[in-house]
Each structure stands twice: as structure tokens, then as C-alpha cells.
Assembly symmetry: C2
């Protein structure tokens, strides 16, 4: 039962410390901010969308929430895929999108301080000017915000070599549910003073505190990369190539897998010169080591030995880009497929991770699940870290197909857990996977998780109903 | 006020599930297990030392503690330097040293599963047989245990390139204070299912749960390394060399600093052919990149430009080892210095971290603090990550010198914080730094830290009085 919001009182209280332009109440704005990019996830209509520009304004929003008992739902760019940013009825949506300043780039200490609303792309560009790189590269990196990346613990393609968002967050400036400020972490590379509140907030999906600033670690600029494209007659062969690459001690900067359906969709798009039809799986391998050419020659041989029947290795940066383009074309290829089915379809991008060695097995099971439910599932995966994104394409207006899509999703989660995996590698729990979370974690963990939520948010006002129920 | 322990009841309850040889009660064993390696830290006498061999036996110890209200203090190899493993009067010391099995090495997924009592050295050797490496290398790595490394979030020399213990812990098997079992984390590289309990327990110094098993990430074996030794006429010059190495995008696998006193102590030991007397600071730089020779040539030039007046670059693996030996000789050199002062002295190894750019400034301040308090302080540091270990050598039997050593310690902490640093980079809080922790974190963080402790350990029976007071 959502709280009944006294909207005039709420608005007048918010207005006492926020300018008019920072408070959106028109129905179009409320609708636009009602949800993120996840299907199958319930959402409500906010009473107001607050777009603060300062941490103090965020604190005022939180104090207002606390005083009036009105829930707050933080939002970044709403590119999330688990419903973690979905509004609840009568809430304040707190968008941090306008807090988008890069406060300082510190090359001597290889770190950057920024506000949560800066996009991943803009941050990456800003630090590149100093010969540095911020590696996490979620697919939505041009639009998604650092605050959202921190909230979800976002991953990406190069994580297989460089790690995920959590590995780069040194410290956080936070506003707690009651409006108090909290600084966690540090500006130093190392530090073990007390329990790690920084890491607790990373991936907490805006349920424990609102991120109003972050100190992020950087790395030296990545060296130029080369890449290769290898197509396989069977999933098993592709899985063996991944295992052989790992066993040989390689650490590619990308190791992506396209299953049969995804490979065909990209071929059908007709915009990739190198990709051939008829393969059970395609691997895209990138190396940005000191000697990528030698690395790729070795990995090419391993792909051949595993049974690859079509390999293109890039000798130049341009060819390398052309190969990587196959990965980037997946999204337009799925869009084209959906258009060819007459449009109006939903793409449900899933997220499951298994130990690397179980990857090919899971891809095969997903293909069988697709067949069983008479669905088209396109599986694209970060093969190097065992993280797959099966995309179920279905017609939401068709109740039967929707139900089958939902069942397929459950079967995929089940298969992932049975293979020793997790129901979310990098997209998060949100509302979508709350039931699965309970199953994955078990009752003892869940009790502690709920205790953590109550510790930070005793009145259950900050992003209620996400991750765990209080 | 420590609890009054009914020792006969405690022992009979423990004996109901633990064999006699797993329970030590002789005074020598109790005394030996009363503390870790930190001076200035209070400790008590345990009622019994339990040395379980299985997780179920650990659970029995915890259930006994919970039922009888007797505190438990977990211990590994007692090499800790913050008093986190110090006994409290009447407690059960729970040594995990006998739980020392390596359960499985999994090269396909680059991970290892082990019990907490295995030493870091033995784990490193075991995974090396599979062409893999477990990088964290605390100074005590030959003796310290993985459980202790996890409890303290241990660092080491190669962390500057490879990260600290926390970066390698994928999942934990835990026993909670009430005896319940909890599995956190996962066997997958990525995963964001729920709040990160694994990371919360890492570095919690045995105050939240007892580690009975761990899943650790591994890396491919490190390539052969080369190294160079550079001596500087001023601290400022050494600091500039570190900054220049960072700015040029190098990531050495070791970047260690010896201050003037430490350099002289190693020279005086007379066992290092290359180290010269009269330098304000010495840098030891190691590279294990794909082309360490080219890397070191570039770093050598940067050291020269910064003002180094004596540089030896290794051309062979043997020369590289000889250079690194200067770092290894610091401990025997300090021992020799202490013996030369007639023995009976205490070496108080401190731990403070600042942003890398403030390193030289902090070393200079420490030298001034030593002068002010008429003490000999030897500063050795992980210069690459801004983490310094000033070692105060003093006579504990001399109340005045002890008081000055204690004051110097406080001054060093103060200086570290004032430079934007932390009072512990990798040794932990224990009992030694509890007061400083409160100052570093501030009241809001401390309230949450205490709440976390209460959530996991509502009766305050697991390692009470460490990190935070409940």
C-alpha cells in the first residue's frame, strides 16, 4: 500500500530550498521518470521529480522525505535493466542528472572527483585528456551516469581485463535517508580503516544512500588494441577456445561471444564485411597488451586448435575496429530483426553469470530453452568472465508470448544457478530479480541484507522495494 | 568488565564436539595465544584455546560462546600489527591455524578454494604449480594465514600493481556469532546479487564472522621481473621521481622507498654490495611488464632527471634479485641496529597511507617528528601507493622513551590525516587505532559502523573491543 502523499505540502516543503526549475510536476515529466529500461517490472507515478544541482539540495529532498514520510527514488539516466530506478506511486523521483560536474582530475594520484550525473562517456573523455583512462564501459556508456554505474555496480566489455565499477570507487560522498551527509572511503590507493561502507553502497541500487559525489581511481591510458574474429561450427568448440585462451595465461581486453542467432542477425543486417553465416558461435577477441600482435597470433592458434573454421585477425588498427564493430552491430541488428517482425516488440536483455568454464554449457541450455518456449533468444556474452546477456525478443501485447518470455527468463536464471552462477552479473536486482535474489542468497544472508537496509534506512523511504524488502 | 567465565562448564561444552587435542588449556599455550605482534595494545588471558579442524567444529565453538556468553577471539598466525587478534580475559581463542587445506585449484576459472589456516606462502606455491599466481604478499607471507589476510585486508609490496587481498576474495564461507553458517559471494568473476557481504567481512578483523573457507581469484603467473636501485640526495627528489614515474604511465610491480635512517641501517649491516651510504632516500623499482628492460630504462631516466645520484639497473634476473634484496635486508638491519643498542628494544611498525603525491612530504614530517621526540624512526614505504611503515625503535622498559614513542605515533597519525590520508593503509585498526578510527571516520560513519557490528554480533561476543566498540 503506497503512502498517501499530501502533494501541496510536499511541494511547498521542497520549494523552500529548491528553485522552481528543479521541481517537475507536469504529467509528461512524471511519466518520463516513472521507470528505467527494464520490462516486466512494476512502476508507479511520482508526485514530483526533483532535479537538484547541489548536495545540499539533495539533503533537503531527503530531509523532506524523512519529515513527511514520502519515499524517494533516485534516478540517473534510467538506462538500468532491472527496474531499480522505477518510481513508486506518490514518491519523489530524485534525479541526479543535473549534478554533472567533473570536480578535479588528479593525474599525480591517478584519480578523479566528480558528481553523480556526469555520463561515463564524458568522464572517460575528460580523463583521456590527461593520458588516463576510466575503464568501466557498460553498453550504455554514452548516456549512463557515474551515479547509476555506482548504484548498479556496472560492468562492461573491458571488465574481463580491467575490472568493474566497484574496483574503481575509492570514496563516496553520500546523503543518508534522514538527510545527514556521510563521506566514505578515501583519496589513498590503500586503506582499511573500519568496515568498507564504500563497497557496501556500490551496487546497492540507491537503497542505502544517495551518491552526491565520488572519488574514482584511474589507470594509465590503454595501449592501442588489435583484435580477431573467430567463428565456430559448435558451441563446444567456442567454449574450448575460451578455456584454452584462459589456460594459456592470456588476459584479453575483450572476449565476447555471439551465439548462432546473434551472429545470423548481424550477418542479416548486411553491414559487416567479415562475419559469415552458418556459425554456431562467434568470438571477438581483443588484446591491448604491450605486444597485441603476438598475443593475438597465439590466441588465433588456440581458436584454430579448438575448431574455429573462419578466423580474421586484424593487422592494423582499422581492421581491429572493423572486427569490434561486429559487437557494436548487435544492437542495430536486433532492432532490424524486431522491425522485420513488424515492430512493437520488446527486447528483454537478461544478465546471468556462470564460472567461465560453464559458459558454453549455459549458451547451449539457453538455446534449448528458446526452442522449448518457441521464442527467439539472442545470446551475447562477455565470454571472458562468464557473463551472458540472453535477449528475449517478444510481443508484450501477446499475453501468451509474454508468459513464455517470462518462463524462459525463469528457466535461464534456474540454469545459471544450477551451473554455480549468479542471477545477475552486472545489471542488478531491482524489482525484477528480488524473488531470485532470495533464492540465490538463502535465508541467513537475506536476514543480514534486510538488516543492512534497516540500518541505513530505518523508515524504508529510500527506493523502497528494490533489492530486498525491508 | 570482562565476563566471569565458568571454565569447567565452558570446557565440558566445548569437549562435547571437539577432540581433546583441539582444546589447549596449559598456561604456556594460553600465554602464547594472548596477543598478536602489536605493541601498545592491551590483551587478556584466554580461558581456552580452541584449534578446530572443521567448519562444524567452529560452529560448535560459536554456539558455545553464544549459549554461555563467553567471548571468542579468532586468531591466525598472530602476525598482525594492530592488536586485532589480542585475547580478552576469559575468552575462547579460536585459532583457525589447523584448518589449512587447499581444497581445489581451478585453472579454468582462475580460482582457488581453501581453508583459512593455509599460509599465504603455501597457497602461492600451490597455485604456481598451475601456472597461476595469488599476488598479495604481506611482509609476513611465509607465516601469515589467508584467514588473517582476509580479516585484515592485507596488502604487500606488489599491491601497487596487483591490488590487495580484498581484490581477490570472490566468496567466503563464514560462521556467524550465533553459530549459523553463511556463504557470501560467488564462484563467478562478476556478480551484483545483493549487498556485498563478502567485502564487508574482508578487513573486519574477525569482528563480524569467522572465516572458515574462501574462494580466491588468481592471475596468470607473473612474468620475470627486472629492477633498479636509485639513491637520492633529498627526499624531495625521490618524491619527484615517484611522481614522474606515475605521470609517465608506468605501473611498476614494486616501488619501495627507504628513508635515510633505513638506508644507513642496511648499509651498516654490510650485506648489500650496491647500496651506498649518505643518501636521503632510496627507491627500489621493479617491473614485470612484457618488456621490463625498456620500462626500467625509461624509469631510470626519470630518476636521473629527478636528481638521483646513484643508480644501479639490473640487466639480469640475478642482479634484479640483488637489488630487491636491499628491501628484504631492512628487517635484519633493524634487528642488528637494535642488538647494537644492547637488545631488549621494541620495534613498533607503523602504517599510514597518504595520496601518492604527499609521500615525500610525509616522510620529511616523520623525520622531524623523530627529531622532536629524540627517537630513531626508520621509514620504509610502499611509495607507489603512498603507504608508509615508519618503524619506531624504543625501549619499552624506559617509561619516558615509551611515552615519547607513543607521542610520535600520535603525531604521525595526525600528519597522515592532515595530508588527506588514512591512519591505516593495510595493518588494520585492532585495539591500537580505535581512537584514531573515530577521529578519521567521524560520528555519522561511526554510528553506522557500530550498527553493522550490532547487526552481525548483537551480543558483542565476537572479538569484542576491536575496530569499533559496540
Amino acid at each position: 500500500m503506497p503512502p498517501t502523499t499530501d502533494t501541496p505540502l510536499l511541494l511547498s516543503t521542497l520549494r523552500s530550498a529548491l528553485p522552481d526549475e528543479a521541481l517537475l510536476t507536469d504529467p509528461a515529466a512524471l511519466a518520463a521518470h516513472s521507470r528505467d529500461s527494464a520490462p516486466f517490472s512494476a512502476c508507479g507515478t511520482p508526485a514530483v521529480v526533483a532535479v537538484p544541482r547541489t548536495a545540499e539540495q539533495v539533503a533537503h529532498v531527503m530531509r523532506t522525505s524523512y519529515a513527511l514520510g514520502v519515499p524517494v527514488v533516485p534516478q540517473g539516466a534510467r538506462t538500468g535493466l532491472a527496474g531499480a530506478a522505477n518510481a513508486v506511486d506518490g514518491c519523489i523521483v530524485l534525479s541526479t542528472a543535473a549534478m554533472d560536474r567533473i570536480l578535479s582530475v588528479d593525474p599525480a594520484n591517478r584519480l578523479v572527483r566528480c558528481e553523480p550525473g556526469v555520463t561515463t562517456r564524458r568522464l572517460a573523455d575528460a580523463v583521456a585528456e590527461h593520458g588516463l583512462t576510466y575503464p568501466p564501459d557498460p553498453a550504455s556508456w554514452e548516456r549512463c551516469t557515474i551515479g547509476g554505474n555506482i548504484a548498479t555496480g556496472a560492468g562492461g566489455i573491458c571488465c574481463v581485463k580491467y575490472g568493474v565499477t566497484a574496483d574503481y570507487v575509492l570514496g563516496l560522498d553520500l546523503v543518508l535517508p534522514d538527510g545527514r551527509r556521510l563521506r566514505t572511503g578515501r583519496d589513498t590507493v590503500k586503506g582499511v580503516a573500519g568496515y568498507d561502507l564504500t563497497r557496501l553502497v556500490v551496487g546497492s541500487e540507491g537503497t542505502l544512500a544517495v551518491v552526491v559525489g565520488a572519488t574514482l581511481a584511474l589507470r594509465p591510458a590503454r595501449p592501442p588494441a588489435l583484435s580477431l574474429l573467430a567463428q565456430f561450427p559448435s558451441l563446444k568448440a567456442a567454449g574450448e577456445a575460451v578455456a584454452a585462451i584462459t589456460a594459456a595465461g592470456h588476459t584479453p581486453s575483450a572476449l565476447e561471444l555471439l551465439d548462432r542467432a546473434t551472429t545470423e542477425a548481424v550477418v542479416d543486417l548486411g553491414r559487416h564485411r567479415l562475419l559469415r553465416t552458418g556459425s554456431a558461435a562467434t568470438l571477438i577477441v581483443e588484446s591491448d597488451s604491450a605486444d597485441p600482435s603476438a598475443d593475438l597470433t597465439s590466441m588465433e592458434l588456440l581458436c584454430k586448435e579448438a575448431g574455429a573454421d573462419h578466423i580474421t585477425a586484424a593487422a592494423t588498427a582499422e581492421e581491429a575496429r572493423e572486427i569490434i564493430e561486429a559487437r557494436r552491430l548487435v544492437s542495430p541488428a536486433l532492432a532490424a530483426y524486431m522491425a522485420s517482425r513488424g515492430g512493437g516488440l520488446t527486447a528483454f536483455i537478461e544478465d546471468v553469470a556462470v564460472p567461465r568454464s560453464a559458459l558454453a554449457e549455459l549458451v547451449g541450455q539457453i538455446e534449448r530453452i528458446a526452442g522449448h518456449h518457441r521464442l527467439q533468444i539472442f545470446t551475447l556474452g562477455h565470454a571472458g568472465d562468464g557473463n551472458l546477456h540472453p535477449t528475449v525478443v517478444f510481443d508484450e501485447s501477446d499475453p501468451d508470448e509474454s508468459a513464455r518470455a517470462r518462463s524462459a527468463y525463469d528457466d535461464i536464471m534456474e540454469a545459471g544457478l544450477a551451473l554455480g552462477g549468479t542471477t545477475t552479473g552486472e545489471h542488478g536486482v531491482g524489482t525484477l530479480k528480488r524473488d531470485w535474489l532470495e533464492r540465490e542468497l538463502g535465508p541467513v544472508s537475506l536476514e543480514l541484507q534486510r538488516g543492512l537496509k534497516r540500518l541505513f534506512d530505518p523508515r524504508n523511504l529510500l527506493n523502497p522495494g528494490k533489492v530486498v524488502t525491508a
